[in-house]
Subunit: 203 residues, 2 copies
């Protein structure tokens, strides 16, 4: 009686197929220019079929949201090799910004869009929690190494995260129009370096 198992497997494959094609469309056309009908066309099924695998569009978006976190955490792995904790922290920030600039649509989905965050349980936060845990770990190392004074790790990590996040949020949502377009990357880099320097001296 392997039938139920096979059906279960086929169901999961279908879910992955939908997510795969949906992600491709979203990444090339942008999230608000892709409709359920577009995705249905791509996978050569009717739009209604998608609703047999996902409660609604937001649930589909949230599934991709999780994929985004997986990709991001993967990109953070190399910097585990760095030995100096502060250098590790700086590189982590740089990676965060790089990820945002190189994967604007994914980053948007993960940290800016309202859509996928409609109503979710505690268990939906494992990915985010994991990524934040990584940061807290490095901050703790900085404190243990005497580079930072001993403050509350959670608040300190939160301070650093949101500061770095600010750059990406303003940049991705094109709120830097007061600067000449060509200056923006330079200003952002200067600001980031200044932030790191300030942390080093002041924390």
């Amino acid at each position: 009686m392997g039938i139920t198992e096979r059906k279960e497997r086929e169901r999961e494959e279908m879910r992955q197929l939908i997510l795969e094609e949906a992600l491709k469309l979203f990444l090339t056309n942008g999230f608000d220019k892709v409709s359920i009908r577009n995705i249905a066309d791509k996978i050569e099924y009717s739009p209604a079929t998608i609703y047999l695998y996902f409660k609604d569009k937001n649930e589909l978006l949230f599934a991709l949201h999780q994929r985004g976190f997986a990709k991001m955490v993967a990109e953070f792995q190399p910097l585990r090799l760095l030995s100096d904790p502060f250098e590790k922290l700086v590189e982590m920030g740089r990676s965060y910004i790089r990820f945002a600039v190189e994967n604007p649509e994914l980053f948007d989905l993960m940290f800016i869009m309202t859509a996928p965050m409609d109503k979710l349980d505690k268990e939906d936060w494992v990915e985010g929690d994991q990524a934040f845990g990584l940061l807290m770990q490095v901050v703790q190392e900085c404190m243990d190494a005497g580079i930072f004074q001993k403050h509350d790790v959670q608040s300190t990590s939160m301070m650093i995260w949101s500061s770095i996040h600010g750059y990406t949020a303003l940049f991705l949502r094109k709120r830097l129009g007061m600067f000449a377009e060509c200056d923006v990357p330079v200003i952002m880099d200067d600001a980031f370096n200044l932030f790191c320097e300030t942390l080093r001296k002041g924390l």
Copy 2:
């Protein structure tokens, strides 16, 4: 021949009426739950009429975007009275965060939503430029007073702005689900204070 003048005036009044009612709807129902038809119902005109006064929905949103900046700059005025430049800076940050929390929809429109920023000219940035100028001024004062070292004012201001912005962006878009809901305000406040302290010591 005051007829053309009267017509001009009536046209402007109509624009303001539309904006007024649109803003009311947006602020109570949220931006993505208000349609052109809703606004048309409220002002008791046909939906098509709105398109005689605004090119499209984004132009309407951008007009409100400007109103948001006016309100924000107005809320910044009181802190001009403070004499200590660093205190002024801290209070400015606090005001920014308070404005975001108390006017989430407006703040969203001003700094997070993509819709109103479709394609705009240099001249559309006067409000944003003005607000950023205010910040640069205070940062300059801090440097002149010897509280901060003399770095590039623009980069330093940008660093401070985006750091503060980060809190609001993550909070408003509900990306702090890894913390217990009741802890969030405390953590945010701790993080903000730590940031100010770090600036004071490290910049």
